[in-house]
């Protein structure tokens, strides 16, 4: 069993000066809709340690996806700033990779081609590219599907390919925007386990958005609860249940209902 305390990179007393993987300082988002402004995100402050797995839960439309999009640099913040390892992060970067609910794979490329995509953008040679890609295709258990085109893959396999494509870039931060939201329960359970073991073996920092509270408790070191729009963090729950966690676990179910109560309360306001 694996607890967050045993994992490398978290709360290491011998690295006290290492800046956090992610700092979000007063980030808010306001946009124009027709002739009026909409506050999507109230100013958010959040620090994520290196190697930490943080889950954001909240009602749909609360701005949690917007926050991920801002952290990835694909969307500018209206106020505030995003710091990656202490440095201001402006614009998109493969260091902060966003994964989407629709896997966003390229249908004109096969699995191998998709996983190699970012490596090619980085100018890595074909032989190295293919060996790196192979490593991650193997890691997500898609060995043998390298030459398969996307339309022939199941939803779960598409998300695996997307995860391999992201990991191949070796990002410091994985931003996952309801990546398993469209999958059936069985596939989702398998992918939870796989994601957890990938996270444990690679030591990636993960910011994971979901509206599924149990999913958040099963995966996160910490669960943050968002209010309805304009989204702000209303509660924070450290999850110190031993890993790997089972969705049937009593401790997990108790924690989940505790969080759900807060969330329901928020939505009634």
């Amino acid at each position: 069993m694996l607890t967050s305390q045993q994992r490398p990179g978290i709360n290491q007393p011998d690295q006290p000066l290492q800046p956090p993987a992610l700092g979000i300082e007063g980030v808010s988002k306001t946009y124009w809709q027709g002739d009026r402004t909409v506050d999507a995100l109230a100013p958010i402050n959040l620090t994520v340690k290196t190697g930490e797995f943080v889950c954001l839960v909240g009602p749909s439309g609360c701005g949690k996806s917007t926050l991920l999009s801002i952290v990835s640099g694909l969307e500018p913040a209206s106020t505030g700033s995003v710091l990656a390892k202490g440095q201001p992060a402006v614009g998109p970067s493969p260091e902060r990779l966003l994964l989407f609910q629709e896997a966003a794979l390229f249908p004109w490329l096969d699995v191998q081609g998709n996983v190699e995509f970012g490596l090619r953008e980085r100018g890595i040679r074909p032989t190295e590219r293919s060996s790196v890609a192979q490593r991650y295709v193997d890691l997500v258990h898609l060995t043998g599907f390298e030459r398969t085109y996307i339309h022939q893959l199941s939803g779960g396999m598409r998300q695996r390919t997307a995860i391999a494509r992201a990991l191949a870039m070796d990002p410091a931060l994985l931003l996952m925007d309801e990546p398993f939201g469209a999958l059936d329960a069985l596939t989702r359970d398998t992918l939870h386990e796989e994601l957890e073991s990938i996270w444990a073996s690679t030591g990636k920092t993960i910011l994971f958005v979901t509206h599924n509270v149990r999913e958040a408790v099963a995966l996160g070191d910490r669960v943050l609860v968002f209010s309805p729009r304009p989204g702000r963090i209303v509660a924070e729950f450290p999850i110190d249940l031993p890993r790997t966690r089972s969705l049937q676990d009593h401790g997990l179910a108790d924690k989940a209902s505790e969080i759900l109560a807060v969330l329901t309360e928020e939505m009634r306001r």
């Binding site: 694909l74 390229f106 004109w108 953008e121 085109y149």
Partner: protein
């Protein structure tokens, strides 16, 4: 009798070779039937043979034209004009289509104009082309370009404009920008629409070429049609029409079909 044979040939359990051949057999029978009906009408005496030539006369004219090399030379001349006009249209069409898709101003100014021009049959340009360039090859090629350009432009514009934003986000996140974003994401994503624009452009180019060549006197397929009419040689006219159709079919099969088939298969569009 024949119908029941065919039903047996397509039924499961029948030898594989026979099932593979069944579509070809059906097609062959269809054409044989078509020619038979044609022969019946031609030999019924309802119309004189210089109005409705029979299959025999057309075949003879076709053989004559092919053996004498006239058809081949004419086809080469027509195809070379087509190639020049089409390549120009593709280059200009991609440029215009990208501009319209990329810049709001270009869309505002050119979008509706291109739509209007596309609805104008390209042969309408012929009088103007003759006034501008004289009755020569340039005028014919101009008409070809006017025929093909706007379909290609619209295909490219719609393909680029309809690239799913998610693909662009994912690619930008992985470090694509500028030209590479186009060459590796937007153009491949736009390919199905671009290809259908290219195909439509091709068939419009071919039609425009024939229209232009009808009035321009130099050996070419369109011109052979016109001389056939001048000589009251309906068999020759039909023979040339057959050649034009065959070339159209072959070009489609060689230029577009393999490419399109592979693309559709990769993306699961079949």
């Amino acid at each position: 009798m024949a119908a029941s044979d065919l039903a047996a040939a397509t039924a499961p359990g029948f030898p594989l070779a026979a099932r593979l051949w069944a579509p070809w057999l059906r097609r062959a029978l269809f054409y044989v039937g078509l020619v038979a009906v044609w022969q019946l009408i031609a030999s019924s005496g309802m119309w004189p043979s210089y109005v409705v030539p029979g299959p025999n006369a057309v075949t003879a004219s076709l053989a004559d034209g092919l053996a004498g090399g006239v058809f081949l030379v004419a086809a080469a001349v027509s195809l070379s004009r087509l190639a020049v006009g089409y390549v120009l249209s593709v280059g200009l069409g991609i440029l215009l289509g990208m501009l319209i898709a990329r810049f709001r101003l270009a869309d505002e100014l050119l979008g509706s104009l291109v739509l209007a021009l596309q609805s104008l049959p390209s042969v309408c340009w012929l009088p103007l082309a003759i006034l501008w360039f004289g009755l020569n090859q340039t005028a014919v090629i101009f008409v070809v370009v006017m025929g093909a350009l706007f379909s290609i432009t619209l295909g490219v514009a719609s393909g680029v404009r309809n690239t799913p934003p998610l693909y662009v986000k994912a690619a930008r996140n992985m470090g694509s920008h500028g030209w590479r974003l186009y060459s590796r994401v937007i153009i491949p994503a736009a390919l199905p629409a671009v290809l259908s624009g290219l195909k439509q452009g091709w068939s419009f180019a071919w039609r425009s070429l024939m229209a232009g060549e009808l009035i321009y006197f130099s050996l070419s397929l369109g011109n052979l049609l016109q001389t056939g009419r001048d000589l009251n040689d309906a068999a020759r006219v039909v023979a040339v029409m057959v050649v034009i159709m065959v070339i159209g079919l072959v070009c489609d099969q060689l230029l577009f079909a393999p490419f399109e088939g592979r693309m559709r298969e990769k993306r699961g569009l079949n």
